[in-house]
Symmetry: C2
Subunit: 434 residues, 2 copies
């Protein structure tokens, strides 16, 4: 047992997302020496990132500095560094500029965007993962309307006003819904030459229905809600090629081309490369998405001192299928791993990890959502209120919650989205192809 190694016992946590952060918090007031490593200096509330991409919230509203969150927890040190590899024999994590040794290791490095072998599509279709992705998507969305306003030729203008979202999971649905509201309501009176409400918003889904994690009935509800917002949902469409301004796809066996200057990618994620590195160094197995297989106690079979949690872990749920990559799973796993470390100290082993499923929520625009809570399914305004409440209480930091609540209330009553800034490199119409 680890406890026999005595103290100080160093716990290294890789990743300041939901899993890593809640593991660190659960280790408060213990004798463990905790080091939390992240490439970024903040915890990001990913579920609201699409609101940054569509100009409703600012990055800082959904991000909190890790040091701020953990400042009162004196046994935690936060390190701004990038973990790149492992040496399990020496119990060391290799960093981009140095290394750090551990007695117990919790790897919570999460997922990254995945283009299914088409990394060349990346520049044409940004995906929503980090803060920079969100501001880049915001820039492209807003710039498309600006370019359309200045384009006199209707044939050249149409692709600027066509927006394609690839992937009908929760992120794609939320992005398409928010984008439709941006075009139809927020920007309605902003332009003189174009009517943003005439934009085409297309949601492409490879499977036979959107929101496959929900029941077919809720998928249909979501599709109806999107149709009301003017989003064209197209299931059973496989994208075959993306370029700057065109989506080529196959639909019902027929090749098709969609001229669209703005393409957003919400089709796939895969495990952080740290998962592969860990599997290689420890002999652990990984699934096709690159997630590392763990025991029911969330550690590696060969290395009980190494835990993998959150999106990076392949952990079977009660139904035998791997648990989904959701914030509540990561939070509960982080807390579980920390509690298991504390139990080991006391010389006992807790029951295996069991995910407590509080339900599943996705939002569609400003006043509709779908929810699945146990056997209960519902949609519409009440589901949206629930979505709003759940996300608001989860935001870390009282000030963030207050600011986001005010912005939501303001947006709701005025249709406004005040964070509509085109920042970063200023594009010219020529650069963007044309």
């Amino acid at each position: 047992m680890e406890t026999q190694r005595g103290f100080p016992h160093r716990v290294v946590i890789i990743g300041g997302g939901f899993g890593g952060l809640y593991a660190a918090k659960e280790l408060a007031d213990t004798a463990f020496q905790v080091t939390l490593i992240d490439r970024r200096n903040f915890h990001l509330f990913q579920p609201l990132l699409y609101q940054v991409a569509t100009g409703a919230l600012s990055p800082a509203d959904i991000a909190s500095p890790l040091r701020e969150i953990l400042k009162r927890q004196r046994n935690v040190q936060v390190l701004l560094a990038e973990a790149v590899d492992f040496e399990p024999g020496r119990r060391a994590v290799i960093l981009g500029d140095g290394e750090i040794s551990y007695d117990s290791l919790i790897v919570a490095a999460g997922m990254q965007n995945h283009y299914f072998g088409h990394d060349d599509w990346r520049p044409f279709a940004p995906a929503l993962k980090g803060v920079e992705d969100a501001t880049e998507i915001r820039r492209r969305l807003l710039f498309a309307f600006e370019a359309a306003e200045r384009e006199a030729d209707p044939a050249k203008r149409a692709p600027w006003l066509t927006f394609t979202v690839v992937g009908g999971g929760p992120t794609g649905v939320e992005l398409a819904g928010a984008l439709a509201e941006l075009a139809r309501d927020t920007l309605r009176k902003d332009f003189r030459a174009i009517d943003p409400a005439e934009s085409r918003i297309i949601l492409l889904e490879g499977g036979d229905r959107i929101l496959q994690a929900f029941s077919p009935c809720l998928s249909r509800q979501a599709e109806k809600a999107l149709a009301r917002l003017g989003v064209g949902v197209r299931p059973d469409v496989k994208v075959t090629r993306l370029s700057g301004g065109e989506v080529e796809c196959i639909s019902a066996g027929t090749a098709e081309s969609i001229r669209s200057k703005t393409i957003l990618w919400a089709a796939g994620v895969k495990a952080s490369p740290l998962g592969e590195a860990l599997a290689r160094r420890t002999g652990a197995a990984a699934d096709p998405q690159g997630r590392v297989l763990v025991t029911p106690w969330l550690h590696l079979r060969s290395h009980p001192e190494i835990f993998v949690i959150g999106d990076l872990a392949h952990c079977a749920g009660a139904d035998g299928r791997p648990l989904p990559g959701l914030a509540p799973v990561a939070i509960q796993q982080g807390q579980y791993a920390a509690r298991l470390l504390k139990a080991r100290l006391e010389g006992w082993t807790p029951a295996p990890f069991a995910y407590r499923d509080w339900g599943n929520l996705a939002t569609i625009g400003r006043a509709a959502a779908v929810a699945e809570i146990g056997k209960l399914e519902f949609s519409g305004f009440f589901a949206w209120l629930l979505w709003l409440f759940v996300h608001l209480v989860q935001l870390i930091g009282f000030e963030n919650r207050l600011l986001v609540l005010i912005q939501w209330a303001w947006n709701y009553f005025t249709w406004n989205r005040s964070a509509r800034l085109i920042t970063g490199e200023v594009p010219s119409r020529r650069e963007k192809g044309d």
Copy 2:
């Protein structure tokens, strides 16, 4: 007179800062066809930019989309474009991608940073002008503390904890004060290996006192307030060379070198290159700072249909000296130019422009400021409250005011600065030299 050209009368305004925006607003409910051109899609409240640079506010809190501000003013079209030159003979403005013709032109292109012939210093010492500058400075400030936390060697650590602000005008004073509070209060408990309160913050001023636009008495008050925050104010210091990590300067005839990884430039601005282009094309005179000389009616002597307002204009005040580059000057000039256009329509000419001076304010940290209002001079907490009130009511948009007020109140009572995000390119310690 312009009016004899009849309608439609096209007014082109270059620049969506204070001058251009208030000119456009003043032309509401008239028959003028107004086009407002800006490279950015938002109006930026420059006086609070240093709060973004020090992590207290988000960019969107101090920026409002120009289209949003002007959406109800149907005679105004906003164009996201870059003006690059003029052809006054044809009454045309040349854009980066096209051109636009005018009957009357209002040029309000403002100032840009100026390194006095040392453009090679730019990468070592960013200046505070746009939103990207502010987030870049924020990134450097926060990253310096992160690098110091990871540096075990005290000799190598010290330059990371030394911050140099070059230039003791209002921007330099505000930056240094906010930076001192960031280090001494906000970050105080955030680190484990370093004590941010031990940071050295140095404010270098070339003249014999800081805040030269204020009275010597208020300069001394500001210096004392800065000293209380731990800022070392050094007048009569001329910078001779900047590099990544070192400031070489001459003080009282002696050469000196300051090892400082973070250097901020607040020493100089000069006119937008559009001023020079306009002077060249029209034969107008420009002053050494590149500002274009205008008549007491704010137009060019040779071209009464071309107005220059705001920071870009050299316009003599009541004391014969050019008016300072302040927001109130630009606002009043924008309104004046618009009123003059309306008067011309009616066939009369108003009295020359007269600046109504409401006073001068600068803030030092979270609860001190200096103020000069007419013959009244004061400093301290009351001046700070006044500063807060004046800036809050000037912020465009009710939501912005409410959010900023909450963040200020929150920051004030908790010493917090919640927008402490290191975004953009993630640096490594090696990249930054060392």
